[in-house]
Protein backbone atom coordinates (compact mmCIF):
# COMPACT_ATOMS: atom_id res chain seq x y z
CA UNK A 1 0.00 0.00 0.00
CA UNK A 2 2.85 2.41 0.73
CA UNK A 3 4.21 2.50 -2.80
CA UNK A 4 6.37 5.56 -3.11
CA UNK A 5 6.10 5.74 -6.87
CA UNK A 6 2.40 6.51 -6.67
CA UNK A 7 2.58 9.58 -4.52
CA UNK A 8 0.67 11.51 -7.13
CA UNK A 9 -2.33 9.36 -6.53
CA UNK A 10 -4.47 9.32 -3.48
CA UNK A 11 -3.84 6.37 -1.26
CA UNK A 12 -7.06 4.62 -2.15
CA UNK A 13 -7.00 4.94 -5.90
CA UNK A 14 -5.54 2.12 -7.91
CA UNK A 15 -7.15 2.04 -11.31
CA UNK A 16 -6.82 -1.01 -13.52
CA UNK A 17 -5.65 1.01 -16.50
CA UNK A 18 -2.44 2.88 -15.79
CA UNK A 19 -3.19 6.55 -15.74
CA UNK A 20 -1.81 8.11 -18.94
CA UNK A 21 -0.51 11.58 -19.27
CA UNK A 22 -3.79 13.23 -20.16
CA UNK A 23 -2.75 15.43 -23.05
CA UNK A 24 -5.77 16.77 -24.93
CA UNK A 25 -5.47 18.03 -28.51
CA UNK A 26 -8.38 19.91 -29.95
CA UNK A 27 -7.91 20.31 -33.70
CA UNK A 28 -10.18 22.27 -36.01
CA UNK A 29 -13.32 21.36 -34.09
CA UNK A 30 -16.59 22.62 -35.48
CA UNK A 31 -19.99 22.00 -33.95
CA UNK A 32 -23.20 22.95 -35.70
CA UNK A 33 -26.46 22.50 -33.83
CA UNK A 34 -29.42 21.96 -36.06
CA UNK A 35 -32.59 22.60 -34.10
CA UNK A 36 -35.55 22.65 -36.46
CA UNK A 37 -33.48 23.11 -39.59
CA UNK A 38 -31.84 26.33 -38.36
CA UNK A 39 -28.11 25.87 -38.21
CA UNK A 40 -26.47 27.30 -35.12
CA UNK A 41 -22.71 27.23 -35.39
CA UNK A 42 -21.59 26.99 -31.76
CA UNK A 43 -17.92 26.16 -32.30
CA UNK A 44 -16.05 26.94 -35.47
CA UNK A 45 -12.63 25.63 -36.40
CA UNK A 46 -11.35 25.77 -32.86
CA UNK A 47 -7.88 24.43 -32.10
CA UNK A 48 -5.74 24.37 -29.00
CA UNK A 49 -3.82 21.84 -26.97
CA UNK A 50 -3.84 21.15 -23.28
CA UNK A 51 -0.58 19.71 -22.01
CA UNK A 52 -0.55 16.74 -19.69
CA UNK A 53 -1.12 17.86 -16.14
CA UNK A 54 -1.90 21.39 -17.19
CA UNK A 55 -4.62 23.44 -15.53
CA UNK A 56 -6.32 24.98 -18.54
CA UNK A 57 -9.04 27.54 -17.96
CA UNK A 58 -11.38 28.47 -20.79
CA UNK A 59 -13.11 31.83 -20.57
CA UNK A 60 -15.48 33.49 -22.96
CA UNK A 61 -18.80 35.27 -23.14
CA UNK A 62 -21.98 33.38 -22.25
CA UNK A 63 -23.31 31.26 -25.08
CA UNK A 64 -20.03 31.23 -26.96
CA UNK A 65 -19.77 27.45 -27.04
CA UNK A 66 -17.60 26.52 -24.07
CA UNK A 67 -20.00 23.92 -22.72
CA UNK A 68 -20.39 22.54 -26.23
CA UNK A 69 -16.67 21.92 -26.37
CA UNK A 70 -16.58 20.28 -22.95
CA UNK A 71 -19.55 18.04 -23.77
CA UNK A 72 -17.80 16.87 -26.91
CA UNK A 73 -14.74 15.84 -24.90
CA UNK A 74 -16.88 14.18 -22.26
CA UNK A 75 -18.80 12.24 -24.92
CA UNK A 76 -22.24 13.73 -24.35
CA UNK A 77 -22.63 14.79 -27.95
CA UNK A 78 -20.92 14.63 -31.32
CA UNK A 79 -18.93 17.22 -33.24
CA UNK A 80 -19.53 18.20 -36.84
CA UNK A 81 -15.93 18.45 -37.97
CA UNK A 82 -12.35 18.22 -36.73
CA UNK A 83 -11.13 15.89 -34.04
CA UNK A 84 -10.20 15.71 -30.40
CA UNK A 85 -7.41 13.45 -29.20
CA UNK A 86 -6.55 12.22 -25.75
CA UNK A 87 -2.94 11.06 -25.44
CA UNK A 88 -2.80 10.68 -29.18
CA UNK A 89 -5.89 8.48 -29.50
CA UNK A 90 -8.82 9.95 -31.37
CA UNK A 91 -11.55 10.59 -28.85
CA UNK A 92 -14.07 12.00 -31.25
CA UNK A 93 -14.22 13.19 -34.82
CA UNK A 94 -16.82 14.03 -37.44
CA UNK A 95 -17.71 10.36 -37.73
CA UNK A 96 -17.16 9.15 -34.18
CA UNK A 97 -18.69 10.27 -30.94
CA UNK A 98 -16.69 9.89 -27.75
CA UNK A 99 -17.95 7.39 -25.18
CA UNK A 100 -18.29 8.87 -21.71
CA UNK A 101 -15.79 7.16 -19.46
CA UNK A 102 -14.00 7.35 -16.16
CA UNK A 103 -10.82 8.65 -17.80
CA UNK A 104 -12.53 12.03 -18.30
CA UNK A 105 -14.47 12.98 -15.20
CA UNK A 106 -16.99 15.79 -15.45
CA UNK A 107 -18.02 18.11 -12.64
CA UNK A 108 -21.29 19.67 -13.67
CA UNK A 109 -22.39 23.26 -13.67
CA UNK A 110 -25.36 22.63 -11.40
CA UNK A 111 -23.88 19.71 -9.53
CA UNK A 112 -24.86 16.12 -10.10
CA UNK A 113 -24.26 14.32 -6.84
CA UNK A 114 -26.92 11.63 -6.58
CA UNK A 115 -29.30 13.00 -3.95
CA UNK A 116 -30.41 9.47 -3.05
CA UNK A 117 -26.92 8.38 -2.01
CA UNK A 118 -24.96 9.50 1.02
CA UNK A 119 -21.72 11.34 0.42
CA UNK A 120 -19.78 8.14 0.97
CA UNK A 121 -21.96 6.14 -1.45
CA UNK A 122 -21.59 8.89 -4.03
CA UNK A 123 -17.82 8.75 -3.80
CA UNK A 124 -17.88 4.94 -3.91
CA UNK A 125 -20.08 4.91 -6.98
CA UNK A 126 -17.37 5.04 -9.64
CA UNK A 127 -15.06 2.31 -8.33
CA UNK A 128 -17.94 -0.02 -7.53
CA UNK A 129 -19.76 0.17 -10.88
CA UNK A 130 -16.52 -0.09 -12.81
CA UNK A 131 -16.00 -3.40 -11.09
CA UNK A 132 -12.36 -2.71 -10.34
CA UNK A 133 -12.87 -2.91 -6.60
CA UNK A 134 -15.06 -4.95 -4.32
CA UNK A 135 -17.53 -2.87 -2.41
CA UNK A 136 -15.38 -3.28 0.67
CA UNK A 137 -12.32 -1.89 -1.12
CA UNK A 138 -14.37 0.88 -2.69
CA UNK A 139 -15.61 1.91 0.73
CA UNK A 140 -12.08 1.96 2.09
CA UNK A 141 -10.84 4.00 -0.86
CA UNK A 142 -13.72 6.44 -0.53
CA UNK A 143 -13.08 6.90 3.17
CA UNK A 144 -9.42 7.46 2.39
CA UNK A 145 -10.06 10.13 -0.20
CA UNK A 146 -12.65 11.84 1.98
CA UNK A 147 -10.18 11.94 4.82
CA UNK A 148 -7.40 13.30 2.66
CA UNK A 149 -9.62 16.05 1.36
CA UNK A 150 -10.86 16.87 4.85
CA UNK A 151 -14.40 15.64 4.21
CA UNK A 152 -14.59 12.61 6.49
CA UNK A 153 -17.04 14.31 8.85
CA UNK A 154 -19.84 14.27 6.31
CA UNK A 155 -19.51 10.73 4.95
CA UNK A 156 -22.96 9.62 6.03
CA UNK A 157 -24.81 12.84 5.25
CA UNK A 158 -27.04 13.13 2.20
CA UNK A 159 -26.13 15.83 -0.33
CA UNK A 160 -29.11 17.98 0.63
CA UNK A 161 -27.90 18.04 4.22
CA UNK A 162 -24.61 19.77 3.43
CA UNK A 163 -23.81 23.23 2.09
CA UNK A 164 -23.48 23.88 -1.61
CA UNK A 165 -19.76 24.56 -1.21
CA UNK A 166 -19.35 21.15 0.45
CA UNK A 167 -21.32 19.53 -2.35
CA UNK A 168 -18.91 20.87 -4.95
CA UNK A 169 -15.99 19.47 -2.99
CA UNK A 170 -17.62 16.09 -2.65
CA UNK A 171 -18.29 16.09 -6.36
CA UNK A 172 -14.62 16.76 -7.01
CA UNK A 173 -13.71 13.92 -4.65
CA UNK A 174 -16.15 11.62 -6.48
CA UNK A 175 -14.35 12.47 -9.71
CA UNK A 176 -10.82 12.14 -8.36
CA UNK A 177 -11.29 8.73 -6.80
CA UNK A 178 -11.48 7.30 -10.33
CA UNK A 179 -7.97 8.49 -11.04
CA UNK A 180 -9.02 10.10 -14.33
CA UNK A 181 -6.64 11.38 -16.97
CA UNK A 182 -8.50 14.64 -17.15
CA UNK A 183 -10.92 16.55 -15.01
CA UNK A 184 -13.56 18.57 -16.88
CA UNK A 185 -15.29 21.26 -14.85
CA UNK A 186 -18.08 23.40 -16.29
CA UNK A 187 -18.40 26.56 -14.21
CA UNK A 188 -18.45 24.49 -11.04
CA UNK A 189 -18.38 27.40 -8.60
CA UNK A 190 -20.79 29.62 -10.47
CA UNK A 191 -23.61 29.42 -7.96
CA UNK A 192 -21.45 29.90 -4.85
CA UNK A 193 -21.21 33.14 -2.90
CA UNK A 194 -17.87 34.95 -2.96
CA UNK A 195 -16.53 33.59 0.33
CA UNK A 196 -17.50 29.98 -0.27
CA UNK A 197 -16.15 30.27 -3.77
CA UNK A 198 -12.74 31.33 -2.48
CA UNK A 199 -12.57 28.31 -0.20
CA UNK A 200 -13.76 25.96 -2.91
CA UNK A 201 -11.12 27.30 -5.29
CA UNK A 202 -8.38 26.72 -2.75
CA UNK A 203 -9.71 23.22 -2.24
CA UNK A 204 -9.47 22.53 -5.95
CA UNK A 205 -5.96 23.96 -6.09
CA UNK A 206 -4.82 21.74 -3.25
CA UNK A 207 -6.28 18.70 -4.95
CA UNK A 208 -4.64 19.75 -8.21
CA UNK A 209 -1.24 20.32 -6.62
CA UNK A 210 -1.40 16.85 -5.21
CA UNK A 211 -2.75 15.00 -8.24
CA UNK A 212 -1.42 17.03 -11.17
CA UNK A 213 -4.22 15.89 -13.43
CA UNK A 214 -5.03 17.63 -16.67
CA UNK A 215 -7.82 20.09 -15.91
CA UNK A 216 -10.25 21.66 -18.35
CA UNK A 217 -12.03 24.35 -16.40
CA UNK A 218 -14.72 26.61 -17.81
CA UNK A 219 -15.60 29.89 -16.18
CA UNK A 220 -16.58 33.41 -17.05
CA UNK A 221 -14.99 34.76 -13.87
CA UNK A 222 -11.64 36.15 -14.99
CA UNK A 223 -10.21 36.41 -11.50
CA UNK A 224 -11.02 32.78 -10.95
CA UNK A 225 -9.31 31.93 -14.24
CA UNK A 226 -6.09 33.67 -13.23
CA UNK A 227 -6.11 32.35 -9.70
CA UNK A 228 -6.52 28.73 -10.76
CA UNK A 229 -5.08 28.32 -14.21
CA UNK A 230 -1.72 27.56 -15.68
CA UNK A 231 -3.05 28.61 -19.04
CA UNK A 232 -6.04 30.80 -19.79
CA UNK A 233 -7.71 30.36 -23.18
CA UNK A 234 -9.88 33.28 -24.13
CA UNK A 235 -12.63 32.48 -26.59
CA UNK A 236 -14.34 34.70 -29.12
CA UNK A 237 -18.07 35.22 -29.20
CA UNK A 238 -20.04 32.63 -31.08
CA UNK A 239 -18.88 30.80 -33.07
CA UNK A 240 -16.30 29.82 -30.54
CA UNK A 241 -12.63 29.86 -31.44
CA UNK A 242 -9.47 30.88 -29.63
CA UNK A 243 -8.86 34.59 -29.41
CA UNK A 244 -5.89 34.63 -27.10
CA UNK A 245 -3.89 32.32 -24.88
CA UNK A 246 -2.17 33.54 -21.77
CA UNK A 247 0.29 31.56 -19.69
CA UNK A 248 -0.17 32.30 -16.03
CA UNK A 249 3.31 32.06 -14.58
CA UNK A 250 2.32 32.62 -10.98
CA UNK A 251 4.14 30.26 -8.61
CA UNK A 252 2.40 27.26 -7.10
CA UNK A 253 1.15 26.33 -4.58
CA UNK A 254 -1.02 29.41 -4.69
CA UNK A 255 -3.01 30.89 -1.87
CA UNK A 256 -5.45 33.77 -1.90
CA UNK A 257 -2.47 36.08 -1.27
CA UNK A 258 -1.36 35.64 -4.86
CA UNK A 259 -4.25 37.85 -5.88
CA UNK A 260 -2.48 40.94 -4.62
CA UNK A 261 0.87 40.23 -6.26
CA UNK A 262 2.20 42.51 -8.95
CA UNK A 263 2.39 39.83 -11.61
CA UNK A 264 -1.22 38.86 -10.97
CA UNK A 265 -2.35 42.42 -11.57
CA UNK A 266 -0.40 42.64 -14.80
CA UNK A 267 -1.93 39.42 -16.06
CA UNK A 268 -5.36 40.55 -14.97
CA UNK A 269 -5.03 43.66 -17.06
CA UNK A 270 -3.98 41.64 -20.08
CA UNK A 271 -6.92 39.26 -19.75
CA UNK A 272 -9.47 41.98 -19.14
CA UNK A 273 -8.35 43.86 -22.24
CA UNK A 274 -8.77 40.79 -24.40
CA UNK A 275 -12.11 39.81 -22.94
CA UNK A 276 -13.65 43.23 -22.87
CA UNK A 277 -13.61 43.50 -26.63
CA UNK A 278 -15.29 40.13 -27.03
CA UNK A 279 -17.86 40.92 -24.40
CA UNK A 280 -18.70 44.11 -26.21
CA UNK A 281 -19.16 42.22 -29.47
CA UNK A 282 -21.37 39.67 -27.80
CA UNK A 283 -23.40 42.40 -26.18
CA UNK A 284 -23.92 44.15 -29.49
CA UNK A 285 -24.90 40.91 -31.17
CA UNK A 286 -27.58 40.68 -28.48
CA UNK A 287 -26.59 37.19 -27.39
CA UNK A 288 -29.10 35.76 -24.98
CA UNK A 289 -27.63 35.00 -21.56
CA UNK A 290 -27.21 31.29 -21.25
CA UNK A 291 -26.56 29.22 -18.23
Amino acid sequence: MTDKSSTKKFAGTNSAAPSGDGRIEISNVTKIYDPGGVNVCAVSDCSFDIEAGEFCVVVGPSGCGKTTLLNAIAGFHSISDGEIRLDGDVLCSATKMAEPGADRMVVFQNGALFPWCTVLKNVMYGPSVQGRMTSHQARAAALDILRELGLSEIGDAYPNEISSGMRRRVEIARALINDPKALLLDEPFRALDALTKGVAQEFLLQAYDRMKKTVFFITHDLEEALFLGTKVVIMTTRPCRVRKMITVDLPRPRTYKVRSSKRYLELKREVFDAVHEEALKAFKAGERELA
Binding site: M1, A74, G75, F76, P100, G101, A102, R104, M105, V106, F108, N110, G111, A112, F114, P115, W116, C117, T118, L120, Y125, G126, V129, Q130, H136, Q137, R139, A140, L143, D144, R147, G155, D156, Y158, P159, N160, E161, R174, N178
Partner: protein, 293 residues
Protein backbone atom coordinates in the same frame (compact mmCIF):
# COMPACT_ATOMS: atom_id res chain seq x y z
CA UNK B 1 -1.64 -5.19 11.03
CA UNK B 2 -2.46 -2.51 8.56
CA UNK B 3 -4.98 0.08 9.48
CA UNK B 4 -8.23 -0.67 7.74
CA UNK B 5 -10.56 2.29 7.78
CA UNK B 6 -13.49 0.32 6.41
CA UNK B 7 -13.73 -2.21 9.22
CA UNK B 8 -13.61 0.53 11.79
CA UNK B 9 -16.07 3.03 10.44
CA UNK B 10 -18.57 0.85 8.63
CA UNK B 11 -20.72 -0.15 11.63
CA UNK B 12 -20.37 3.33 13.05
CA UNK B 13 -21.93 4.92 10.00
CA UNK B 14 -24.92 2.62 9.75
CA UNK B 15 -25.49 2.86 13.49
CA UNK B 16 -25.47 6.62 13.49
CA UNK B 17 -27.83 6.67 10.52
CA UNK B 18 -30.37 4.50 12.26
CA UNK B 19 -30.39 6.38 15.55
CA UNK B 20 -30.76 9.61 13.63
CA UNK B 21 -33.87 8.33 11.86
CA UNK B 22 -35.33 7.15 15.15
CA UNK B 23 -34.61 10.33 17.08
CA UNK B 24 -36.18 12.36 14.30
CA UNK B 25 -39.33 10.27 14.64
CA UNK B 26 -39.45 10.70 18.43
CA UNK B 27 -38.88 14.40 18.07
CA UNK B 28 -41.80 14.63 15.68
CA UNK B 29 -44.03 12.64 18.04
CA UNK B 30 -43.15 14.76 21.07
CA UNK B 31 -43.76 17.93 19.16
CA UNK B 32 -47.16 16.73 17.99
CA UNK B 33 -48.63 17.36 21.43
CA UNK B 34 -46.91 20.68 21.83
CA UNK B 35 -48.04 22.06 18.50
CA UNK B 36 -51.28 23.89 17.88
CA UNK B 37 -52.03 21.85 14.80
CA UNK B 38 -53.28 18.86 16.74
CA UNK B 39 -55.74 20.90 18.82
CA UNK B 40 -56.96 22.89 15.83
CA UNK B 41 -57.57 19.62 14.01
CA UNK B 42 -59.49 18.18 16.95
CA UNK B 43 -61.54 21.34 17.22
CA UNK B 44 -62.41 21.07 13.51
CA UNK B 45 -63.69 17.53 13.96
CA UNK B 46 -65.74 18.45 17.02
CA UNK B 47 -67.26 21.43 15.24
CA UNK B 48 -68.15 19.24 12.26
CA UNK B 49 -69.86 16.58 14.39
CA UNK B 50 -71.60 19.32 16.41
CA UNK B 51 -73.03 20.91 13.28
CA UNK B 52 -74.15 17.52 12.04
CA UNK B 53 -75.90 16.85 15.34
CA UNK B 54 -77.54 20.26 15.23
CA UNK B 55 -78.85 19.70 11.71
CA UNK B 56 -80.09 16.13 12.12
CA UNK B 57 -80.86 15.74 15.82
CA UNK B 58 -81.91 19.14 17.16
CA UNK B 59 -83.28 21.25 14.30
CA UNK B 60 -84.24 18.36 12.00
CA UNK B 61 -84.33 20.63 8.95
CA UNK B 62 -86.34 19.33 5.97
CA UNK B 63 -83.41 18.03 3.91
CA UNK B 64 -81.71 16.46 6.90
CA UNK B 65 -84.57 14.71 8.68
CA UNK B 66 -83.88 11.31 7.16
CA UNK B 67 -80.19 11.34 7.97
CA UNK B 68 -79.09 9.46 11.06
CA UNK B 69 -77.80 11.76 13.78
CA UNK B 70 -74.39 11.21 15.40
CA UNK B 71 -75.85 10.08 18.70
CA UNK B 72 -77.78 7.28 17.04
CA UNK B 73 -74.70 6.29 15.08
CA UNK B 74 -72.50 6.27 18.16
CA UNK B 75 -75.07 4.34 20.19
CA UNK B 76 -75.29 1.68 17.53
CA UNK B 77 -71.55 1.59 17.07
CA UNK B 78 -70.75 1.07 20.76
CA UNK B 79 -73.68 -1.12 21.70
CA UNK B 80 -73.14 -4.70 22.88
CA UNK B 81 -76.46 -5.63 21.33
CA UNK B 82 -76.68 -3.42 18.23
CA UNK B 83 -80.15 -2.94 16.79
CA UNK B 84 -78.91 -3.36 13.22
CA UNK B 85 -76.14 -5.79 13.99
CA UNK B 86 -73.16 -3.53 13.34
CA UNK B 87 -70.97 -2.43 16.22
CA UNK B 88 -67.49 -2.84 17.61
CA UNK B 89 -68.76 -5.98 19.39
CA UNK B 90 -70.17 -7.57 16.27
CA UNK B 91 -67.85 -10.05 14.50
CA UNK B 92 -69.84 -9.34 11.34
CA UNK B 93 -68.47 -5.78 11.30
CA UNK B 94 -64.87 -6.97 11.29
CA UNK B 95 -65.63 -9.52 8.63
CA UNK B 96 -66.76 -6.71 6.34
CA UNK B 97 -63.58 -4.75 7.04
CA UNK B 98 -61.40 -7.79 6.50
CA UNK B 99 -63.01 -8.59 3.17
CA UNK B 100 -62.50 -5.05 1.89
CA UNK B 101 -58.96 -4.84 3.23
CA UNK B 102 -58.03 -8.16 1.72
CA UNK B 103 -59.41 -7.14 -1.67
CA UNK B 104 -57.58 -3.82 -1.52
CA UNK B 105 -54.34 -5.55 -0.68
CA UNK B 106 -54.71 -7.97 -3.58
CA UNK B 107 -55.66 -5.26 -6.07
CA UNK B 108 -53.07 -2.78 -4.86
CA UNK B 109 -50.20 -5.25 -4.80
CA UNK B 110 -51.06 -6.48 -8.25
CA UNK B 111 -51.23 -2.92 -9.53
CA UNK B 112 -47.89 -2.02 -7.93
CA UNK B 113 -46.19 -5.20 -9.03
CA UNK B 114 -47.23 -4.68 -12.64
CA UNK B 115 -47.52 -0.90 -12.80
CA UNK B 116 -44.15 0.13 -11.39
CA UNK B 117 -42.01 -2.07 -13.68
CA UNK B 118 -44.10 -1.11 -16.73
CA UNK B 119 -43.81 2.57 -15.87
CA UNK B 120 -40.07 2.28 -15.23
CA UNK B 121 -39.59 0.49 -18.49
CA UNK B 122 -41.65 3.03 -20.41
CA UNK B 123 -39.49 5.82 -19.06
CA UNK B 124 -36.31 3.86 -19.63
CA UNK B 125 -36.85 2.66 -23.21
CA UNK B 126 -38.24 5.20 -25.61
CA UNK B 127 -39.39 2.52 -28.07
CA UNK B 128 -41.46 0.77 -25.43
CA UNK B 129 -43.09 4.05 -24.50
CA UNK B 130 -43.85 4.80 -28.14
CA UNK B 131 -45.76 1.52 -28.38
CA UNK B 132 -47.60 1.67 -25.10
CA UNK B 133 -48.24 5.29 -24.24
CA UNK B 134 -51.11 5.90 -26.72
CA UNK B 135 -52.97 2.83 -25.42
CA UNK B 136 -52.44 3.96 -21.85
CA UNK B 137 -53.72 7.43 -22.56
CA UNK B 138 -56.78 6.01 -24.31
CA UNK B 139 -57.71 3.56 -21.57
CA UNK B 140 -56.86 5.74 -18.60
CA UNK B 141 -59.66 8.31 -18.87
CA UNK B 142 -62.38 5.61 -19.06
CA UNK B 143 -64.22 5.70 -15.73
CA UNK B 144 -63.90 2.47 -13.82
CA UNK B 145 -67.67 2.05 -13.63
CA UNK B 146 -67.75 1.72 -17.41
CA UNK B 147 -65.60 -1.38 -17.01
CA UNK B 148 -68.16 -3.15 -14.83
CA UNK B 149 -69.94 -5.14 -17.55
CA UNK B 150 -66.69 -6.21 -19.17
CA UNK B 151 -65.24 -7.14 -15.80
CA UNK B 152 -68.19 -9.40 -15.10
CA UNK B 153 -68.07 -10.94 -18.57
CA UNK B 154 -64.35 -11.43 -18.42
CA UNK B 155 -63.81 -12.86 -14.94
CA UNK B 156 -65.49 -15.81 -13.33
CA UNK B 157 -67.19 -15.72 -9.96
CA UNK B 158 -67.90 -12.80 -7.69
CA UNK B 159 -64.44 -12.00 -6.31
CA UNK B 160 -62.37 -11.62 -9.46
CA UNK B 161 -64.41 -8.83 -11.10
CA UNK B 162 -64.33 -6.77 -7.90
CA UNK B 163 -60.58 -7.08 -7.54
CA UNK B 164 -60.08 -6.42 -11.23
CA UNK B 165 -61.98 -3.14 -11.01
CA UNK B 166 -60.03 -1.97 -7.95
CA UNK B 167 -56.82 -3.05 -9.63
CA UNK B 168 -57.51 -1.25 -12.88
CA UNK B 169 -57.78 2.29 -11.57
CA UNK B 170 -54.76 1.86 -9.33
CA UNK B 171 -52.77 0.29 -12.14
CA UNK B 172 -53.13 3.28 -14.48
CA UNK B 173 -52.29 5.81 -11.78
CA UNK B 174 -49.19 3.83 -10.82
CA UNK B 175 -47.91 3.48 -14.39
CA UNK B 176 -48.41 7.12 -15.20
CA UNK B 177 -46.72 8.44 -12.08
CA UNK B 178 -43.81 6.04 -12.40
CA UNK B 179 -43.32 7.13 -15.99
CA UNK B 180 -43.42 10.79 -15.00
CA UNK B 181 -40.97 9.97 -12.22
CA UNK B 182 -38.42 8.58 -14.64
CA UNK B 183 -38.90 11.51 -16.98
CA UNK B 184 -38.44 13.95 -14.12
CA UNK B 185 -34.87 12.76 -13.47
CA UNK B 186 -32.42 15.45 -14.43
CA UNK B 187 -30.33 14.59 -17.48
CA UNK B 188 -27.15 15.46 -15.60
CA UNK B 189 -27.59 12.43 -13.31
CA UNK B 190 -27.59 10.15 -16.33
CA UNK B 191 -24.54 11.93 -17.69
CA UNK B 192 -22.75 11.69 -14.36
CA UNK B 193 -23.57 8.01 -14.10
CA UNK B 194 -22.23 7.28 -17.59
CA UNK B 195 -19.16 9.36 -16.87
CA UNK B 196 -18.48 7.31 -13.75
CA UNK B 197 -18.44 4.18 -15.87
CA UNK B 198 -21.96 2.79 -15.40
CA UNK B 199 -23.31 0.02 -17.55
CA UNK B 200 -26.99 0.22 -18.54
CA UNK B 201 -28.04 -2.01 -15.66
CA UNK B 202 -26.28 0.25 -13.18
CA UNK B 203 -28.10 3.24 -14.59
CA UNK B 204 -31.40 1.40 -14.28
CA UNK B 205 -30.93 0.24 -10.72
CA UNK B 206 -28.90 3.12 -9.33
CA UNK B 207 -30.33 6.12 -11.15
CA UNK B 208 -33.69 5.35 -12.74
CA UNK B 209 -35.26 3.55 -9.80
CA UNK B 210 -34.13 5.81 -6.93
CA UNK B 211 -34.64 8.90 -9.06
CA UNK B 212 -38.23 7.94 -9.83
CA UNK B 213 -39.02 6.83 -6.28
CA UNK B 214 -40.61 10.09 -5.03
CA UNK B 215 -43.03 10.08 -7.96
CA UNK B 216 -43.65 6.36 -7.61
CA UNK B 217 -44.79 6.85 -4.05
CA UNK B 218 -47.03 9.74 -5.03
CA UNK B 219 -48.47 7.38 -7.63
CA UNK B 220 -49.00 4.66 -5.03
CA UNK B 221 -50.87 7.10 -2.78
CA UNK B 222 -53.12 8.12 -5.63
CA UNK B 223 -53.42 4.48 -6.66
CA UNK B 224 -54.53 3.51 -3.16
CA UNK B 225 -57.16 6.24 -3.21
CA UNK B 226 -58.67 5.23 -6.52
CA UNK B 227 -58.48 1.56 -5.59
CA UNK B 228 -60.74 2.27 -2.59
CA UNK B 229 -63.03 4.27 -4.79
CA UNK B 230 -63.44 1.50 -7.33
CA UNK B 231 -63.59 -1.22 -4.71
CA UNK B 232 -66.55 0.35 -2.95
CA UNK B 233 -68.34 0.90 -6.24
CA UNK B 234 -67.73 -2.72 -7.20
CA UNK B 235 -68.81 -4.06 -3.81
CA UNK B 236 -72.04 -2.11 -4.06
CA UNK B 237 -72.82 -3.79 -7.36
CA UNK B 238 -71.97 -7.30 -6.43
CA UNK B 239 -70.83 -8.85 -3.23
CA UNK B 240 -71.98 -10.27 0.03
CA UNK B 241 -69.25 -8.87 2.21
CA UNK B 242 -67.21 -5.70 2.28
CA UNK B 243 -67.73 -2.13 3.39
CA UNK B 244 -69.19 -1.05 0.05
CA UNK B 245 -71.70 -3.87 0.25
CA UNK B 246 -72.50 -2.87 3.85
CA UNK B 247 -73.31 0.70 2.79
CA UNK B 248 -75.62 -0.42 0.05
CA UNK B 249 -77.23 -3.22 2.04
CA UNK B 250 -77.95 -0.88 4.95
CA UNK B 251 -79.58 1.55 2.61
CA UNK B 252 -81.82 -1.11 1.15
CA UNK B 253 -82.70 -2.42 4.60
CA UNK B 254 -83.27 1.11 5.95
CA UNK B 255 -80.57 0.75 8.60
CA UNK B 256 -79.31 4.27 8.16
CA UNK B 257 -76.85 4.57 11.09
CA UNK B 258 -74.93 1.62 9.67
CA UNK B 259 -74.32 3.61 6.45
CA UNK B 260 -72.45 6.22 8.45
CA UNK B 261 -70.51 3.61 10.40
CA UNK B 262 -69.39 1.96 7.17
CA UNK B 263 -68.49 5.28 5.60
CA UNK B 264 -66.37 6.42 8.53
CA UNK B 265 -64.70 3.01 8.63
CA UNK B 266 -63.78 3.40 4.96
CA UNK B 267 -62.35 6.81 5.66
CA UNK B 268 -60.25 5.62 8.57
CA UNK B 269 -59.05 2.47 6.82
CA UNK B 270 -58.17 4.41 3.68
CA UNK B 271 -56.27 6.92 5.76
CA UNK B 272 -54.33 4.18 7.54
CA UNK B 273 -53.32 2.61 4.25
CA UNK B 274 -52.23 5.98 2.95
CA UNK B 275 -50.18 6.53 6.10
CA UNK B 276 -48.57 3.13 5.72
CA UNK B 277 -47.51 3.91 2.17
CA UNK B 278 -46.10 7.24 3.25
CA UNK B 279 -44.14 5.59 6.04
CA UNK B 280 -42.69 2.97 3.73
CA UNK B 281 -41.85 5.77 1.30
CA UNK B 282 -40.08 7.81 3.94
CA UNK B 283 -38.13 4.77 5.07
CA UNK B 284 -36.99 4.09 1.51
CA UNK B 285 -36.30 7.72 0.67
CA UNK B 286 -34.23 8.85 3.60
CA UNK B 287 -32.68 11.59 1.51
CA UNK B 288 -35.95 13.47 1.19
CA UNK B 289 -36.64 13.42 4.93
CA UNK B 290 -34.97 16.47 6.34
CA UNK B 291 -33.52 16.02 9.74
CA UNK B 292 -35.47 17.88 12.41
CA UNK B 293 -32.85 19.92 14.22
Amino acid sequence: MEYDPASESAPDISGRGRSRGFSALRYKFENLFKSRDLYLGLFGIIAFVGTWHLLTGVLTLPRFEKLPNPVAVLTEFTSRHPVFGTSIYAPQYYLHILWSVWRIIEAFFLATLLGVPIGLFMGWKKVFKDYTFPILEMLRPIPVLAWVPLAILMWPGREAPIIFLAFLASFFATILNTLLGVESIDESYFRAARCLGSRPRHIFFRVVIPGALPFIFTGLQIGMGVAWFSLVAAEMLSGEYGLGYLVWDSYVLIQYPVIIIAMVTMGVTGFLFSLLIRMVGNALMRWTVREAT
